[in-house]
Amino acid sequence: MRKTCLDMVHTLAKSDPRVVFIGSDLSPGLLGKMKAEMPERYYMEGVTEANVIGMAAGMAMDGYMPFVNTIATFITRRCYEQVALDLCLHDLPVRLIANGGGLVYAPLGPTHLAVEDIAIMRALPKMTVTAVADADEMVRLMRATLDWPHPIYIRLGKGGDPIVSKEENGFAIGKAIVMRPAGGRDRVLLVSCGVMTGRALKAADLLAKQGIAAEVIHVHTIKPLDSKLIVERARDVRSVFTIEEHTTIGGLGSAVLDVLSEELGPNMPYVKKLGLSDEFAKNYGSQDDLLELNGLQPPQIAGQVERVLMQARVA
């Protein structure tokens, strides 16, 4: 997903003279071809996140569309005020490409885990927040960025994530996708974003084997949220499960909860937020290890759904 995303910056730059790449202090040789072909639109600026965001804003004010790339924690927390004021207050078409969203950098520890990035980006007016499922969908997102006039946060997965998105589902920023439809009032709704959609689909398969119909909605754009689709699909179900590689504070789950509460009031379904617990990671290992510790692997997701349904039956 990361390589695809960066390659797309080069591809887009070939046809659109507004596209500029700005990195902080990334791998040597990154986007080497772009640097060779169009050195005037390739910048590697060092460990200066605050400056890089302001600089991108200045370029955008004069007609450019900078794609800024660094590690997710640093492009969000480190320069939050620059993102809020330079980008969002001015409502500029700058793109933040955030390496290693969620638990990708598990072995590097909590300084490198971006587990509240969606929450803090989502809180900013004018900011668009995206987390696509795989590399194929990244291509579709990157194409769509050219026509989107606002700042965009682009959360990247680890890379090599299984391809679960489908071309025929189409892609538009702000439009969620029903990845796995299910019928009947007894169905449950799984709402997920980013690479958790792949795991949600697997969980749905496991649930099907238990005779539980699970519908999966993939929310690649957490803001603006596709409230219409989510409300429409949640209106007649008893329970909704949100699944995210992110703290349960302020992310996809909170966004879904807000809109269901707002739109359906006392008739809203039960909503269970599945995500990361409110603490700094205590363990290293891999992304999968930490997902497992947080109960976010497909069998665990399916198990949580079953438990909730069981409790509902008992009640």
Binding site: I53, A56, G58, L89
Partner: protein, 280 residues
């Protein structure tokens, strides 16, 4: 607390400088508040820029070929508003609605709301990075526009300013000029006590700027200096302007408590108006 004044040898303020200050006072009266000291120290810097240096057209505030002037110390906005009113970007009467609920002139300037304001500033340490981006944009677009970024001395405590300075030096932005309104007093007190900046000229030079210091109230000296820009064909320029906080308002000069004031008593307003030679 009075502190030593470092630009005391400046020539007396002429009628134009007093007039521009009267516009600032008009804004202070209109909003019944404002950063008095921070605006008054800036007047000659902005006056020379807008009268003699910058290329702009008030009828086309977004003219691509214009020079960009970012007031990074956004709290000095009354000085900028006075200048923009004087040049016809906004009606002078707009100053009477400073900070009003239905006005466009806020306590910090906003791009898109006020014609002529290049960047929304107020949080400190943002302007130079934006200026670096604009200077690079001009280079990419092969425009000869220049970019001026006016900062406060307290503002340059911010680490982001020095990140931006590194970038400007690296890219050899000869079309960028950093200007520091060095009035030696930040909000909490004298810069020498709160966060000493010296040796300031050496610092900017070390970051890759061709740096010159000047009396920031001496209009002729400022004009002569800025007309020589760029100071070096291969480097960005920095101008350290020695100024007096509250310049032109005898009871405010050099006094940190005049950094910002509100709810003026009638007598104080009268004194302010008198200090600038009355309202025109």
């Amino acid at each position: 607390m009075k502190v030593v004044r470092l630009a005391q040898a400046s020539p007396p303020l002429d009628e134009r400088s007093l007039y521009l200050r009267s516009l600032v006072v008009r804004g202070l009266v209109g909003g019944n508040r404002g950063h008095v000291g921070s605006s008054m120290s800036l007047i000659e810097i902005l006056r020379v820029l807008y009268d003699d240096i910058l290329r702009f057209d008030p009828k086309r505030p977004n003219w691509p070929e214009r020079d960009r002037c970012i007031l990074s110390k956004g709290h000095g906005c009354l000085a900028l508003y006075a200048m923009l009113a004087d040049k016809g970007f906004i009606p002078v009467a707009e100053l009477d609605r400073f900070c009003h609920v239905d006005g466009i002139l806020g306590g910090h300037p906003e791009r898109g709301k006020v014609p002529g304001v290049e960047a929304s500033t107020g949080a400190l340490g943002h302007g130079l990075s934006i200026g670096v981006g604009m200077a690079l944009a001009a280079r990419m677009q092969k425009r000869d526009s220049r970019v001026f970024v006016v900062m406060g001395d307290g503002e340059i405590n911010e680490g982001s300013v020095w990140e931006a300075a590194l970038a400007a030096g690296k890219h050899k932005l000869r079309n960028l000029c950093a200007i520091v309104d060095y009035n030696k007093i930040q909000s909490a007190g004298p810069t020498a006590e709160i966060q000493d900046l010296e040796p300031l000229v050496d610092k900017w030079s070390a970051f890759g700027f061709a740096t010159v210091d000047v009396d920031g109230h001496d209009v002729d000296a400022l004009r002569n200096l800025l007309q020589r820009l760029p100071f070096d064909a291969e480097r960005p320029s920095a101008v350290i302007c020695h100024t007096v906080k509250g310049k032109g308002i005898p009871f405010a000069e050099g006094d940190p408590k005049w950094h910002h004031q509100s709810n003026f008593e009638a007598k104080v307003l009268e004194d302010l108006q008198q200090a600038v030679g009355g309202m025109r």
